[in-house]
């Protein structure tokens, strides 16, 4: 069973865009940097890296994949989405 689709209006999209692109304060940065990386988190990231590098063995292949993936993603956006 798939999750119900939620329609997001332009105002909500704009709010989300502003939130995503807001500047982080020095305090927020300090707090974020004080949180140590857990072994589980590190292992998860390295597992993703291993998968990505196995699937796309050269940096050029990875860059090409990201271009395709981004183009696919923007096609499904209701309006031009930028700023990843």
């Amino acid at each position: 069973m798939s999750a119900p689709r939620i329609r997001v209006g332009p105002e909500a999209r704009e709010r989300a865009r502003l939130l995503a692109n807001r500047s982080v304060s020095a305090d927020e940065l300090r707090v974020a940097q004080s949180l140590p990386l857990s072994e589980d988190e590190r292992a998860e990231v390295l597992s993703l890296v291993r998968w990505f590098c196995r699937r796309y063995p050269t940096p050029a292949a990875r860059l090409r994949y990201v271009r395709r993936a981004y183009a696919r993603w923007t096609r499904h956006q209701p309006e031009p989405a930028r700023g990843c």
């Binding site: 692109n21 050269t58 940096p59 050029a60 090409r64 395709r68 696919r72």
Partner: protein, 158 residues
């Protein structure tokens, strides 16, 4: 679906052959290192004296600057664009949100050259320096990227 016709590997090759002191930063540098993240734009930090050379290399790909080299030097950044967007930093140094200072010349000395494929390389900052660039005007996604990059410490790059 296909991405646009822009040949980014040829673009990187053109930059390399131009001799511009250019560091690939931003999320595309993360992708080079093996991190699967999405991004729209290209981000470079180039030497302030290499703006004209960089623009000339980009022009053959239809990328045009939003500012003259002199304006760019004063602003510290500009954009090259057509249907692609290349954000270009040209400041001699930057100050991070935590007060840390990054000087281009120092990052350039510590850079890594990464082979994209046979015959094409790109220069990226060292891991520590790439993390430091993420602390300049950070957004929430930069905090996430810092954690991803932190996880790569001690790992031999592909």
């Amino acid at each position: 679906m296909q991405a646009s016709e822009f040949d980014e590997i040829a673009f990187f090759k053109g930059i390399e052959r131009s001799g511009v002191r250019a560091l690939l930063i931003g999320r595309r540098a993360l992708v080079v290192l093996g991190l699967p993240v999405l991004t729209a734009d290209y981000d470079f930090w180039i030497h302030v004296d290499d703006i004209a050379l960089f623009n000339a290399a980009a022009e053959s790909f239809g990328l045009l600057p939003t500012h003259t080299p002199e304006e760019a030097r004063q602003r510290g950044r500009y954009v090259l664009q057509n249907d692609e967007t290349v954000d270009v930093l040209v400041a001699r140094s930057l100050t991070a949100a935590d007060g840390g200072r990054l000087a281009f010349d120092e990052l350039w000395l510590r850079r890594r050259s990464v082979s994209l494929e046979e015959g094409v390389s790109v220069s990226i900052p060292s891991l520590d320096d790439l993390i430091a660039t993420k602390r300049v005007r950070p957004r929430p996604k930069d905090l996430e990227d810092i954690r991803l990059l932190e996880a790569l410490r001690g790992v031999e790059p592909e």
